[in-house]
């Protein structure tokens, strides 16, 4: 079974996925490239949390 930390990380990715899917359904060009997905993930899973931690 996954640990609590692993489930927390997974929940973060699921939340990121929900936003990615919502944008993609509305604007399908967003789904075209793996590199767009990679850039999106780096932004929402790394840069934004790092920025929030820095501010607070």
């Amino acid at each position: 079974m996954p640990s609590k930390r692993q489930l927390t990380v997974a929940a973060g990715y699921v939340a990121a996925a929900a936003v990615y899917i919502a944008v993609g359904v509305w604007f399908t060009d967003f789904l075209l490239s793996f590199f767009v997905a990679l850039a999106y993930l780096l932004l929402v899973v790394w840069l934004v949390p790092a920025g929030v931690r820095r501010i607070f």
Binding site: P2, Q6, V9, A10, Y13, A16, A17, Y20, I21, G24, V25, T28, L31, F34, A37, L38, L41, L42, V45, W46
Partner: protein, 257 residues
């Protein structure tokens, strides 16, 4: 990373021209998208086993990495072999230009990106993708940080070199991104096709049949015999190599004891 690169390699340079793009006042699109994508003359050789071997050998020679060569080969072969599942198939044994195809789902690339997406995510192809997504979810441990650090990072010097430039958190995200992209893409296109646009599902063999699919001609008996001979020869080579490898390994063990 080379596994991912290999899996993307067959379509990387060609798919945009199959669907067509609009730049300024110009429309750039292949006059015969099916021929261009999977055929010869065209870029269909990118979906052959030989193409994977050639690029893998280049990786081995130029980068000096057997890991990159073998990983790329596995990724490229996986794409080339699974694309035999549609109604056009691939020239798996190029330069032999026969199209190996099982016709399980409709090839509709010539209809344009949106109709192709609607068709793919309405037929057996989408079910095939879903099998791999479920398999990936059940294998969730390979996506954990500990698995990445213990097995993936240590297996390829690329990660160590990349770690000198970016933190390991970024490498971990890059590692997970392919599964994230594939899964989200499947869900998004399925929602687009069936919730937003109400395309009907048709998961019967060769479906969906509401789309104008392209088809390769059926394989003749001589072609089937030829394919059987090639596969048989390949298996014989693998079996013989394993026998020789086994002998050498045993000799190495005996020389040490």
């Amino acid at each position: 990373m080379p596994l991912l690169l290999g899996s993307y390699a067959p379509d990387m340079m060609s798919k945009w021209f199959v669907y067509g793009i609009h730049i300024g006042g110009w429309d750039l699109k292949a006059s015969d998208p099916v021929q261009f994508h999977r055929g010869w003359p065209g870029l269909g050789f990118t979906h052959s086993l030989l193409y994977g071997v050639v690029i893998a050998l280049l990786f081995w020679r130029v980068l000096g990495s057997k890991t990159w060569a073998v990983s790329f080969l596995i990724g490229e072969w996986a794409h080339a072999i699974t694309d035999t599942g549609d109604t056009v198939g691939t020239m798996l044994f190029f330069p032999w230009t026969v199209h190996i195809h099982f016709g399980a789902w409709a090839y509709a690339g010539q209809t344009g990106r949106m109709t192709d997406a609607a068709a793919y995510f309405s037929g057996p192809g989408a079910v095939w993708d879903l099998v791999w997504i479920v398999f990936g979810i059940f294998s969730w441990r390979v996506l954990t940080r500990s698995y990445f650090e213990q097995h993936v990072f240590t297996a390829d010097a690329f990660w160590g070199r990349a770690n000198r430039v970016v933190p390991i958190a970024v490498l971990l995200i890059a590692y997970r991104a392919a599964f994230f992209y594939g899964t989200c893409r499947w869900i998004a296109w399925s929602l687009w096709a069936h919730v937003v646009h109400h395309y009907p599902y048709d998961i019967s063999w060769g479906g969906p049949h509401w789309v104008n699919a392209a088809h390769s001609p059926p394989l003749t008996w001589p072609q089937l015999l030829g394919i059987g001979a090639i596969i048989g020869a390949g298996l014989a080579i693998v079996f013989t190599s394993r026998l020789e490898f086994g002998k050498k390994s045993w000799a190495a063990i005996r020389s040490k004891t």
